[in-house]
Symmetry: C2
């Protein structure tokens, strides 16, 4: 028993294949009686259109690839931010009746795999997430005629449409808050150099510090919790007088919290800590984290709109962030 085809439905309903196709695809102009006959046949036979045949002619697959340039360990377990973004994007895409194909790529073999997959016509569009530096994906995918939208500003100079939150402004607001609290020596724990979100947040920090005539104190991290701990330890060793830290991600801020606790510093009394992202954990840390909320759902909606909308996106879209003040600063 193989799956029934359009042909079988047509035979059963006593109409042509064209009519069945119209009914199945919801075309308006079919007489009610024929329509019901077809629908009954579809029902009785359990007909579901063959997607390969359909997309061969329509040149659509109703699938969108969500390509994340990170290893599985980071996406699945380490960083809840990915989970939040993936969920938000998936939800938007499902609402638009598109299937999400999640592809993680963290190797050259992975790049080749994604490229073949996209070029083979498996998807109608690609969303790029967490690109690093000179990520080869925009260029290689650009060769297929498939629309691409990046989640976050891409580092490459290629004109890839993107939506991002206001990393610069968000960071600046957090640091200004620290300054307004009367903090004297405010350091930052920056994210990885090869990511624009990290660069922009660092720039925001510098802008706020510069405007207040303060010198910058920068430690490097890579957005992970461990790196936040290490960076904080180093900051403390280098300059014991530090009384505030702006970490470019919540995970790093939480790592910093641990290092401060281990060093016997009270937060926020001795050292104020602010993060970025507002992941779920930020409310549950000890103490709860003051942070910059990314509009995850809005960015996701924006990206899907850019990808699926009628007119191709022209300008990037930057969405505002929100400073969430809790107890750590």
């Amino acid at each position: 028993m193989t799956r029934p085809t359009l042909e079988a439905v047509a035979a059963r309903a006593g109409v042509s294949r064209a009519t069945v196709s119209r009914v199945v695809n919801g075309a308006a102009n079919v007489k009610p009686d024929l329509r019901t006959a077809v629908m009954r046949a579809v029902e009785e036979l359990g007909y579901i259109p063959n997607s390969a045949a359909r997309s061969l002619v329509t040149r659509r697959t109703d699938s969108i690839a969500l390509v994340v340039s990170e290893p599985p360990s980071r996406v699945f377990s380490d960083d809840p931010f990915f989970s939040a973004v993936i969920r938000a994007v998936s939800q938007q895409l499902e609402a638009a009746d598109r299937q999400v194909i999640l592809m993680l790529v963290s190797s050259a073999a992975g790049h080749a795999r994604v490229e073949r997959y996209v070029a083979g016509g498996h998807v109608d569009g690609v969303i790029l997430l967490s690109m690093h530096g000179a990520d080869p994906l925009p260029a290689s995918l650009g060769r297929s005629r498939v629309p691409i939208v990046s989640h976050g500003r891409p580092a490459s100079s290629l004109p890839v449409p993107y939506c991002d939150c206001d990393n610069h402004g968000g960071a600046r607001a957090a640091v200004e808050h620290l300054i307004a609290q009367g903090r004297r020596r405010i350091a930052t724990i920056a994210g990885p150099r090869d990511m624009t979100a990290a660069q922009d947040r660092l720039d925001g920090y510098r802008a706020a510090m510069g405007a207040a005539d303060r010198p910058s104190i920068v430690a490097m991290g890579d957005f992970t919790r461990e790196s936040g701990t290490t960076a904080m330890q180093q900051l403390l060793a280098d300059d014991p007088e530090i009384d505030a830290v702006f970490a470019a991600s919540d995970l790093m801020a939480i790592g910093a919290l641990g290092a401060l606790r281990a060093a016997g510093r009270r937060v926020p009394d001795d050292v104020a800590v602010a993060g970025f992202d507002d992941i779920g954990l930020a409310s549950f840390s000890e103490p709860p984290l003051t942070t910059v909320r990314q509009p995850v759902a809005d960015v996701a909606a924006c990206i899907v709109q850019m990808l699926l909308g009628d007119e191709p996106p022209t300008a990037p879209v930057i969405l505002p962030t929100e400073l969430v003040i809790r107890e750590s600063a």
Copy 2:
């Protein structure tokens, strides 16, 4: 500029489409000079076969759906066990040159979506993960002619092939270890009733306790850390004399560790704790967790073999677990 077709490659190489197809698909019998001519044309044109056209005739897609019956929050952030399984399965599938389509389903709409996707011929096979009780998926997917293999014994009576670890034996070994340590009152924190892994581990606990003539002490959890904390608190309240706990998952064991610490009990001095899974966190908990290691990679390899192997699987496969003794028991 649209993507080149077989036709274009054939024209450029001066051969028929059949020959191009043979070269592209690695058929043996093509004269070397024609083969090189075709390969050059493929290279020059950047030809990549259209997958819809190909799978329309071959009836293959080289994609496998990995269907996880859990909400995104659990899969992405909460439980590292999923991450481990997904990674292991993906790796096996990629090694076999198959694309993994990850589908999370935690609603009726999700079920319908998956069913349509599979029935539409998008995938060559389905791997079911984390099924709960009377999961409707085996039945509804069974109607498509697509091979299915379950990760873990399914609860339903349908004859779905599966591979699982020895949940019963693993649990029993852990409890016997606790008994051998001279523990007197050994409780268990069980997993969700509607999952066979939880049932089997509970049975293993009971078997070991029964064999040693001890009464069972059972608290219910749902495999999450929070539930482990709650269950442990309740256990302590009900029976302060408890001196050992076997938790049916590491996450619950870690939750129990927290509850014990909060209650001022030392581990393992006052209360011994054993878990199940051996997730990465198990080595880093305070104290490091004695647990039952699941052969995640082996199970993944076995499942992929069952799905892709030449002959359809007949009997289920049960793989052995390993007791990993650390400091908590």
